[in-house]
Amino acid sequence: MAETMASQRAPDSRQTMLWVSAALLPGIATMAALFGAAVLLNLGVCLVVAWLTEAVCLRLRHRDWRAGLRDFSAPVTALLVGLAVPPGAPIAAPVLATVTAIALGKHAYGGLGQNLFNPAMVGYTVALVSMPAAFALWPVDAASGATALDTLKHNDGLTLAELLRTPAFGSIGGYGWEWANLAFAMGGAVLIARGIIGWRLPVTFLLALGGLALAFHDGGSSRSAGSPLMHWSMGSTMLAAFFVLTDPVTHPNPRRAQIYFALIAAATTFTIRAWGSYPDGLAFGVLLANAATPYLDRRFA
């Protein structure tokens, strides 16, 4: 009996990280195809910096750094940061983001499993806030330009249909971003099928985001904040929904608490996207939702 029980054992933390990295590959490939090799360069930089920071931090904490590296959590954080930071950005952005993510986001709290906030988002937000200019420029068919979100925000008079024809947009969402989001969604579906992550969190998040977008859609007029479909395919929505929000360490366990967690993240993201000054509110949404996790855990224990 216990033998069968043991087989139901949730995947080892190492396997989890391996599976998550594997699930990211389709998305990475799509983005590399669309935005050129800069994406891969970016990821490479992040991976190396993450590996170095992890080793240094572990040594500083007198821990066996080889064992620490074997749990594969640093590469996952590096990939997430690498995908969030725009490839066109100066080299300082991914480096700062990754170092902050690993050092401040994870090791300041005591290493794997101890952190309160998702390390990748901590790193990304710190870099975003300290170098806002670097984060605004995403390559649009090989020339870097404002992202779809940015154009939508400063839209003065074009209806959604006309917006879609401007260079920053592809056919339904951000240029190229709709394919990347689709690839990430597929990767996420694989993770759910393998039981690595629960379906409840990403689905609630996407539904809530879509719902809010629908509420403020007012028929695609110039003042509209974008249709649900656009919101799903703009920015790195799917990446956040399936890979960042579902980080087991920083989301609550009780089912009802996970619903509120997703609602907080979705509400914040939408508010910032519609009326805020930053182009994309995903990172802030994740941080606020992570901040609410201890309270939600306690409230719905």
């Binding site: 366990n253 855990d297 306690r298």
Partner: protein, 397 residues
């Protein structure tokens, strides 16, 4: 060979080192009685345990036989004198449990032969080898409580009668726990601080029923069926485990909820299985994957409890650690090989200890207040009488 007996709570040894005792003689009495399972001399006694230097292992009944249909009081007294405790693993004195059942009134008696834990199948062997005694034991209990009999069985087939209702359950852990039985058979979900007796149900392990039958035949509880590394043997209580298995440390109890004990630990009244201790694995940090939350039958916030350092009793109480039934399902599913059961067991002990401590303190406080008031009234009365005598003397004086 040195046999060892652990002193149960609130009971005292009633023999001295050097005394020669025959098999079945009384070693300790109080809340629970302890009897010698061997003939021999008492080697040493201390607060924790008594060591008996064994001379003969031949067992003889030390009480006179009793008719099954004698009065309730005599049957209850015999159960107490035989030192019967719950053999399912709880170890609660059976005479106290049955007395409370009689006081509160019980209409359902559940004889539990569901062995739901891997590595334990002593009840199955018991049902095969001692069918007549088990039936006799159940009849005695039915006569004592005059309740409707329900037999619950899993893999093992428990002896049964037409009048008794038999329920066959799929025996995956913790189907055999009394809280789970109340829910699966009677559909009653017990609240945190409730026991089956609050709903007119009393759950008795089939081994306990068998021990009761033997008690009526004159045998105190001096031996029981134990699964020793997968093989069922009828063993005397007090036998050191080191004489049965090789190795320095052993696991007592099932593969899930068992505890690791040292080499000199004996077979106790509640030892249902013994195995060489499992290899301990080094734990990795918990990544809050909540696999233990999902599998917990009492759906406790196991992940939060597992991360809670010992000592924070209020938080452990808020997270209902005392509702843990120690079924041990959480340890095997943990991907970081954390021994979750031991952590939850510690939290549960701390919370229960703190609650009983607080209740005892409150009761002592109330008794102190009541005593103060009584003494005030008494001294006032004494004062009044003295005044009266004074006045009478002045009037006559």
């Amino acid at each position: 060979m040195i046999a060892r007996y652990l002193r149960p709570m609130q009971s005292r040894w009633c023999v001295e080192p050097g005394d020669v005792v025959r098999c079945g003689a009384l070693l300790g009495s109080g809340r629970v009685r302890t009897h010698a399972a061997f003939t021999g001399t008492v080697a040493s006694i201390d607060d924790e345990r008594l060591e008996l230097d064994v001379a003969g292992t031949e067992q003889i009944p030390s009480l006179d036989p009793l008719d099954v249909h004698s009065s309730r009081a005599t049957v209850l007294e015999r159960i107490e004198h035989a030192g019967i405790v719950g053999l399912g693993g709880g170890g609660f004195p059976t005479h106290l449990k049955l007395a409370e059942a009689l006081r509160r009134g019980v209409d359902k008696l559940v004889i539990n032969a569901v062995e739901c834990e891997p590595g334990v199948h002593c009840d199955a062997a018991l049902c095969e080898q001692f069918e007549p005694e088990i039936v006799q034991g159940i009849e005695a209990l039915q006569h004592l409580l005059d309740a409707e009999v329900h037999i619950t069985q899993g893999a093992a087939t428990c002896p049964s009668r037409q009048a008794w209702q038999t329920h066959t359950l799929n025996a995956d852990t913790p189907a055999g726990a009394e809280r789970q039985l109340c829910r699966s058979i009677f559909g009653i979900t017990l609240a945190a601080d409730e026991r089956p007796v609050h709903h007119g149900i009393v759950v008795v392990n089939v081994g306990t029923a068998h021990a009761i039958a033997r008690a009526l035949q004159g045998w105190p509880l001096i031996s029981r069926m134990v699964t020793v590394a997968g093989e069922n043997r009828w063993l005397a209580i007090g036998t050191p485990i080191s004489s049965l298995l090789e190795g320095s440390s052993f696991r007592v109890g099932g593969r899930l909820s068992g505890q690791t004990v040292g080499g000199d630990a004996p077979i106790g009244k509640t030892t249902n299985a013994v195995e060489p201790a499992p290899a301990s694995r080094n734990a990795q940090p918990c990544i809050n994957c909540a696999a233990c939350d999902v599998i917990c039958p009492e759906d406790l916030p196991v992940a939060q409890l597992a991360r809670l350092p010992r000592g924070n009793v209020e938080a452990a109480q808020r997270l209902a650690a005392d509702r843990c039934i120690e079924c041990g399902l959480c340890t095997p599913v943990c991907p970081s090989h954390i021994d979750v059961l031991t952590i939850l067991r510690q939290h549960r002990h701390d919370v229960r200890h703190a609650t009983t401590q607080r209740q005892a303190a409150a009761a002592a406080g109330n008794r102190f207040e009541a005593r103060e008031q009584r003494r005030a009234v008494q001294s006032a009365l004494r004062e009044a009488r003295r005044q009266e005598r004074l006045q009478r003397r002045q009037r006559n004086g």
